[in-house]
Symmetry: C2
Subunit: 264 residues, 2 copies
């Protein structure tokens, strides 16, 4: 079999954007195209840390609260995995992430000795997670990726949260998949597989895109393809992954770089 040049491979992809060819697969496995891209969202697509800190300051500071807003955001987020573990282990029935966030908020306020905030203000503060900004490469990258692939979040965020974030950042999802349709939380296998099934695809026709190697490893274990997007400054300088620590099909420096690597 003759190896394809990059130009020939690109031409083939243009001719059949939703169907990888066996020729391409044999020549270069890494260029086999998925049909759908599933995205982790918190950290991978949006900057939760400065967004939550900004919203907490905006809502609580006028009420006379003074504290380190980034530390407040970090503490709130630190309760994320333990909260979901209650559901993952079956100790608790599935509840959507907005419910967990609200409970985590109470604990965070107690930690910072913030008292007497009215319920409607707390409900509004809980929507901080609905008001996060995308990393700058996401809107232009998604515009290119969406022309070639089905796009959906496969996040632990719930449908309302994902819909609000998409509106704010002008993202067009084909559907909102993830925890709410699986009624469980990543990295439980069924969350990835429910997303695959919702699009009538096989795991190998889907690619999980995340800035977190653990998420990609869990997706790969279910047969999905994987792409890592580097977010080295995800939670502050030097806190994120600049490269994957697991084997992936693609490693990209941004969503625009991923679009280029996928020929979109």
């Amino acid at each position: 079999m003759t190896a394809l040049t990059r130009r020939e491979a690109a031409a083939l992809m243009l001719a059949a954007p939703f169907a990888a060819t066996s020729t391409m697969a044999a020549a270069a496995p890494a260029t086999v195209m998925p049909k759908a891209l599933f995205f982790d969202v918190f950290g991978t697509c949006v900057d939760w840390r400065t967004g939550v800190a900004r919203e907490a300051e905006r809502i609580l500071k006028p009420r006379g609260v003074t504290l380190n807003w980034l530390e407040f955001a970090d503490h709130w987020r630190s309760l994320y995995q333990p909260s979901m573990d209650e559901v993952r282990t079956g100790r608790r029935q599935f509840v959507k992430l907005d419910v967990l966030h609200r409970e985590m908020l109470d604990k965070t306020l107690a930690k910072f000795s913030v008292n007497g905030v009215p319920p409607d203000v707390l409900a509004d503060l809980n929507l901080a997670w609905h008001r996060l900004d995308a990393w700058p490469d996401v809107p232009p990258g998604f515009a290119r990726l969406g022309a070639k692939f089905l796009l959906a979040p496969c996040s632990n965020g719930n449908i309302a949260l994902m819909a609000d974030v998409a509106r704010r950042n002008k993202i067009r999802w084909d559907a909102i998949l993830g925890s709410d349709i699986a009624r469980d939380y990543k990295p439980k296998p069924n969350v990835y597989l429910a997303a695959v099934d919702a699009f009538n695809l096989t795991p190998g026709e889907c690619m999980m895109v995340a800035a977190h190697s653990a998420d990609l490893g869990s997706a790969a274990a279910q047969g999905l393809r994987t792409a890592h997007v580097a977010r080295p400054n995800e939670n502050g300088p030097g806190t994120g992954e600049s490269a994957p620590s697991v084997r992936v099909d693609y490693a990209a420096s941004s969503m625009e770089d991923l679009a280029t690597k996928l020929g979109a």
Copy 2:
């Protein structure tokens, strides 16, 4: 309380498009704005009958099949309610509509004595329902409605089907709600209520939009607002509803008319 003029009411709506005010509610209940619109899709947004007939002819005619393609589409659709009844009654576990459509296709082919069609061709033919065209007023109407309201299908169609129809017709849904997330079929109450819950809203903050009075009556029974869109020629001349037979909040002649009536 002073009654509002139409101009004043319109100005209020512009100032607070996502929050109906109590003043407005008292002055004119019919102008209280929902936050989300849920759409029936088959018949209300898309022309299933000529689309399915066209796809059946495109795929089967080259194989030497001759029949009345509209009658073929009508028979296929006639098995829709009985198939869903198996799930609604609990006699059968939930399966997505693509699965029911595929079973209904086998029965339809038998009815028309069409034999020997290979499985891959049948799988492709089953995607006829993914390749339906929107009524002409839908794309321009949705562009206006989407600027003011959250938009989601609350259809018995599954996620993959809805996503494909949206791509084909350049519809931007905020999320795909309906049967797949409720794991049951309309008019079961939970299908409407699961859609409401997915957006963190109350039933009164949501409006069901359909060309079928029965669907609207079922939604209203769960507390949703309702809008009827006339499709008098839905399945051929004079076959559809030119007006609702139940009480509704709005009755519109098209999606563009609905946008005008809702101030979008």
